[in-house]
C-alpha cells in the first residue's frame, strides 16, 4: 500500500487549499479551499486507519465530514448576510476590522 | 527591638503618613492651616529623629534601633529596619530638609495646597523608608513609592515642560529599578539554593556566594538602577529637565535627598553584596565619576538658566561622591558620605535661593538679573556664603568633603593601600582636583552676572530683600553649613565604624569569599532558625555549592 504516496498527495491537496484561501478574492472559492484542506486531513486519517487497522481513523473522518457540513452551513449564511449588507463578495472590501 | 522598647524608626518613618491623614480632613481652601500642619508634623518628626543622633552608639558598626516583624513570612519578606552610621545622617538630612521645604513653599504653592502637602508627607515616608529598610523587598517598595509623589509634584506644580520632565524622570528611574528587581529575585533564589530557606533580609542575602561572572551581571543590574539615580554621566539627562521644571520645593527635595538614594544604594547594597565585581568595576566607575565632575562643571558654565546651572553642578558634586565611594578606603568613603550631606545642604540652599528670586521675578534667566547686591544685600550675602560652600572654600562644609574624597581617591591610586588591586589612577585625582577650578569659574561667573554688574533692568529696582520666613530657613541651613565646615568630627566619628565594616566586606579577598560560602552552609540552617524564631517551613536542604 503506497502510504507515503498518499501522504504526499494529501500534502499537495493541503497546499492547494491554502493557496486557494490566500490568493483567491472570491469568498466562495475561499470556503471551498478550506473544505479541500479538511479533505486532505480526512485522507490521511483514513490512510492510517487502514494502515493500523484501527477504526478510530474512520470515525474521526466521519466526524470531520459532519463538521465540514456545519461549517459550510454557517459560512454560506454569512455570505448571504454579507451580500445583503455589503453587496460584494470580494474579501478585500470586507474589512470592517480596519479602524 | 527599637529604642528602649519603643519602635522609634517606625514612628519616625510613618508619622508623616499619619500627618497626611490628618491633612486629608482639613478643608481644601484652608491653605494656611494645611501648610502649618504639614510643617508641624515634619518638625516633630525631625525632633524625634534627633533621638537617633544622641542615642546612636558611635563605636558599634552594626545596625541599631533594629525592628523586625514578619510581613510575608513564607516568602522571607520581613519588615526589617535599622540604622547604622551610613544611614543615620541621611535620615536626619531627610527629616531636616522636609519641614524647610514645606516652609519655603509657603507663598510659592498657591493652588492645590492640600495635594501638595500630602504628596510631600508621603514622599518623606518613602524616603525615610528607603534609608532604613534592610529587607530588599521593603527597600524596593519604598524605592518605587518615592517616584510617585515626586512625579506628581513635578507634573502638577512644575514649569512649562513639566509633563515631559515628569514622565522622563519617572520612566528613566523605573526602567533602572526593573533591572534591580530582577537582580533581587536572582539573589533570592540563589540564597534559597544555597541555604534552603527563603529570605530577603540584608544579613542573610549577604552570605550568599556568587561566581565572579554572576557578580558582574548582578552588580551591573544594581549599578544601573543606582547610576541613573546618582546620576552618573551617561544617564544624567533627566536631572536638568526635572530640576528646571520642578517647583522650588520639588527640586530641593529632589537634589537634597533623592539623588543620595543612588549613592546610598551603591554603598549599602551594590558594593558589599558583590565585592569582587565592585573591585573589578571600580576603575571604570571612577573614570565615569571624573568625567561626570568635569562634564557637569563645564556644561554648567554655559547654562542660561540658573536652575539648570545648579542641576549640572550637582552632577559635578555627585561625581565627587562616587569617586570617594569607589576609593574603598576610610577617608574616601567618609568623604563621599559627608559630601552627600554637604550637597544636600548647599544645593538645597541654592535651590531655595533661586526659589526666592523666582517668587519675586518669575524668571530664572541669568540675563534678567544684574546688580541685585545693591537691592537685596542680605540675600546677596547668604547667596555668597552658599556659593562659597558649594565651590568648596575651606572653613565651610564643601571643602571637608572634597578634601577627604581627594585624599581617598589619591590613596586608592597607590597600590600599597589596596592589597591586591590597583583601583584608581593618579590622573583621576588630578582631573577631579580641576573640578575645584571649574566650580569657581561657573559659580562666580553666575554670581557676578546676577549680583554684581550694573542695575540696569528696571524690574529689579524695588525687589524686597529676604523676609522673616526666608531668613529663618537660610539661618537654619547656614548653621549646619558652618558647623560641618568648622567641626566635622561630630559627623565623621559616628560614620567611621559602619564604614570600616563595609570596607572589610568589600575588600574581602577572593579565597576568603569563596570558602566563607562553603563553611557557612553546613551550620547556617540550624542557627538562623533558632535565631530568627520564625515559622520557617522546613524544606530539605539542597547540597551547598
Amino acid at each position: 500500500m503506497p502510504y507515503n504516496g498518499i501522504l504526499i498527495m494529501a500534502v499537495i491537496l493541503f497546499i492547494i487549499g491554502i493557496t486557494g484561501v490566500m490568493v483567491r478574492r472570491n469568498i466562495f472559492i475561499m470556503l471551498m479551499s478550506i473544505e479541500l484542506i479538511l479533505n486532505a486531513a480526512n485522507l490521511v486519517f483514513i490512510a492510517f486507519a487502514r494502515a493500523f487497522a484501527d477504526p478510530a481513523g474512520q470515525v474521526i473522518a466521519l466526524l470531520s465530514i459532519t463538521l465540514a457540513a456545519a461549517e459550510v452551513g454557517v459560512g454560506l449564511g454569512i455570505f448571504v448576510a454579507i451580500r445583503r449588507t455589503h453587496n460584494t463578495v470580494n474579501v478585500d472590501e470586507i474589512n470592517l476590522l480596519k479602524h | 527591638m527599637g529604642w528602649k522598647g519603643l519602635p522609634l524608626i517606625s514612628i519616625v518613618t510613618f508619622l508623616p503618613v499619619i500627618g497626611a491623614l490628618i491633612v486629608l480632613f482639613i478643608d481644601k481652601n484652608e491653605g494656611k492651616l494645611i501648610k502649618t500642619t504639614g510643617i508641624i508634623v515634619t518638625s516633630i518628626d525631625f525632633l524625634i529623629s534627633l533621638i537617633f543622633f544622641f542615642a546612636f552608639k558611635a563605636y558599634s558598626p552594626d545596625f541599631q534601633f533594629v525592628e523586625k516583624l514578619p510581613w510575608i513570612a513564607s516568602w522571607g519578606v520581613n519588615y526589617y529596619v535599622g540604622i547604622d552610621g551610613i544611614s543615620l545622617f541621611l535620615v536626619l538630612l531627610t527629616t531636616f530638609l522636609t519641614p524647610i521645604t514645606i516652609l519655603s513653599a509657603w507663598k510659592a504653592i498657591e493652588e492645590k495646597e492640600k495635594e501638595f502637602v500630602i504628596f510631600m508627607l508621603l514622599l518623606e515616608t518613602a524616603m525615610l523608608g528607603a534609608f532604613v529598610a534592610l529587607n530588599l523587598v521593603l527597600f524596593y517598595v519604598f524605592w518605587e513609592l518615592m517616584l510617585i509623589p515626586m512625579y506628581f509634584i513635578i507634573g502638577i506644580w512644575g514649569g512649562e515642560r513639566r509633563i515631559y520632565a515628569a514622565v522622563k524622570f519617572f520612566i528613566y528611574t523605573a526602567v533602572g529599578s526593573l533591572l534591580m528587581l530582577i537582580a533581587i529575585l536572582y539573589i533570592y533564589y540563589a540564597h534559597y539554593k544555597q541555604f534552603g530557606f527563603y529570605s530577603f533580609d540584608y544579613e542573610d542575602l549577604f552570605r550568599v556566594v556568587f561566581t565572579f561572572k554572576e557578580q558582574l551581571l548582578l552588580f551591573a543590574a544594581f549599578g544601573l538602577a543606582f547610576a541613573i539615580k546618582v546620576p552618573m554621566f551617561p544617564f544624567h539627562t533627566w536631572l536638568p529637565d526635572a530640576h528646571v521644571e520642578a517647583p522650588t520645593a520639588g527640586s530641593v527635595i529632589l537634589a537634597g535627598i533623592l539623588l543620595k538614594m543612588g549613592t546610598y544604594g551603591f554603598l549599602r547594597f551594590a558594593m558589599p553584596l558583590f565585592p569582587l565585581a565592585t573591585r573589578a568595576a571600580a576603575p571604570y566607575i571612577m573614570a565615569l565619576a571624573v568625567v561626570g565632575i568635569i562634564y557637569g562643571a563645564l556644561v554648567a558654565m554655559v547654562q542660561k538658566d540658573v536652575k539648570k546651572l545648579i542641576a549640572y553642578s550637582s552632577i559635578s558634586h555627585l561625581g565627587y561622591v562616587m569617586l570617594g565611594l569607589f576609593a574603598f578606603n576610610l577617608q574616601g568613603i567618609q568623604g563621599g558620605l559627608l559630601q552627600m550631606i554637604n550637597h544636600g545642604l548647599s544645593t538645597g540652599a541654592l535651590f531655595l535661593l533661586v526659589g526666592v528670586i523666582y517668587e519675586r521675578r518669575h524668571t530664572r534667566l541669568i540675563s534678567e538679573f544684574g546688580g541685585l547686591a545693591k537691592v537685596m544685600p542680605w540675600y546677596a550675602a547668604v547667596f555668597m556664603i552658599v556659593t562659597l560652600s558649594s565651590i568648596g572654600l575651606p572653613g565651610l562644609n564643601g571643602f571637608v568633603g572634597e578634601f577627604l574624597v581627594l585624599v581617598g581617591a589619591y590613596k586608592a591610586a597607590f597600590a600599597e593601600y589596596l592589597k591586591d588591586l590597583h583601583v584608581g589612577h593618579f590622573t583621576f585625582v588630578v582631573l577631579a582636583a580641576t573640578g575645584m577650578i571649574w566650580g569657581a569659574v561657573y559659580m562666580l561667573w553666575m554670581y557676578q552676572r546676577v549680583f554684581f554688574n550694573k542695575l540696569t533692568n528696571p524690574k529689579n529696582f524695588k525687589l524686597p530683600d529676604l523676609n522673616l520666613r526666608e531668613a529663618v530657613i537660610f539661618v537654619l541651613l547656614l548653621i549646619f553649613i558652618v558647623w560641618i565646615g568648622v567641626y566635622p568630627n561630630t559627623f565623621l566619628s559616628r560614620t567611621e565604624a559602619s564604614i570600616n565594616k563595609t570596607i572589610n566586606r568589600v575588600m574581602i579577598s577572593k579565597e576568603a569569599y569563596f570558602n566563607r560560602g562553603r563553611a557557612m552552609n553546613a551550620s547556617t540552617i540550624r542557627i538562623t532558625e533558632v535565631e530568627r524564631g520564625l515559622i520557617v517551613e522546613k524544606v530539605p536542604m539542597g547540597e551547598g555549592r
Binding site: 507515503n4 504526499i8 498527495m9 | -
Partner: protein
C-alpha cells in the same frame, strides 16, 4: 497492484481538479471541480477499505454540501466583473510562502515508510464504524451533534432577512 495504480490515478485526478478549482474564474465551475475532487477522494477511501466513508463522502459532501454551495452561488447572482481586481504583490508572496511550506512539509513526510497490517475483512463496513462511534467514541459523537444543532440555528439566524 491494481489497487495502488488506481489510488495514484484517483490522487492525480483529485490534485488536478483541485488546481482547476482555484484557477477558474467562475465560482460555479470551481464548485463543480470541487465536486470532482470529492469524487476522486471517495474513490481512494473505497480502495482503503473505508467503504462506508466513501459512501458518506459522496452522499454528504458531494450530494449535499457542493450542491448547497452551487445553489447559494446561483442565489446571490453577483456579476463576475468586479472580482477581477489586480494581483497585488502580497498575493504573489503568498504563493511563494505556500511553496516554501510545501517543501518544508515534504521533509517531514518524504522519508516516512509505513508497513501496514492487513485489516480484518469487514473492517470498513458501516456496522463496524457504527459500533466504534457508539461505544468508544460516544462522547465526540454527542459533541458533534450539538455542534450541528448550533450550526443550523446559527446559519438560519444569520441569513434571515429581518
Amino acid at each position: 497492484m491494481l489497487a495502488t495504480m488506481l489510488i495514484y490515478i484517483f490522487g492525480a485526478l483529485a490534485i488536478f481538479s483541485g488546481l482547476m478549482m482555484i484557477l477558474y474564474r467562475n465560482p460555479i465551475h470551481s464548485a463543480l471541480w470541487f465536486g470532482l475532487v470529492l469524487f476522486s477522494l471517495a474513490g481512494i477511501y473505497a480502495l482503503m477499505q473505508a467503504h462506508f466513508l466513501a459512501l458518506i463522502q459522496i452522499l454528504v459532501y458531494v450530494g449535499a454540501i457542493t450542491v448547497l454551495i452551487v445553489y447559494v452561488i446561483a442565489l446571490l447572482n453577483f456579476d463576475q466583473r468586479d472580482l477581477v481586481g489586480k494581483v497585488t504583490i502580497l498575493k504573489g508572496i503568498a504563493v511563494i510562502v505556500a511553496a516554501i511550506l510545501f517543501i518544508e512539509l515534504l521533509f517531514y513526510v518524504g522519508g516516512l515508510y509505513v508497513k501496514g497490517i492487513a485489516p480484518p475483512p469487514e473492517f470498513g463496513k458501516a456496522a463496524n464504524i457504527g459500533l466504534a462511534t457508539l461505544t468508544r467514541y460516544l462522547f465526540p459523537f454527542e459533541v458533534i451533534s450539538i455542534l450541528l444543532l448550533v450550526a443550523v440555528v446559527g446559519g438560519v439566524y444569520i441569513a434571515k432577512k429581518d
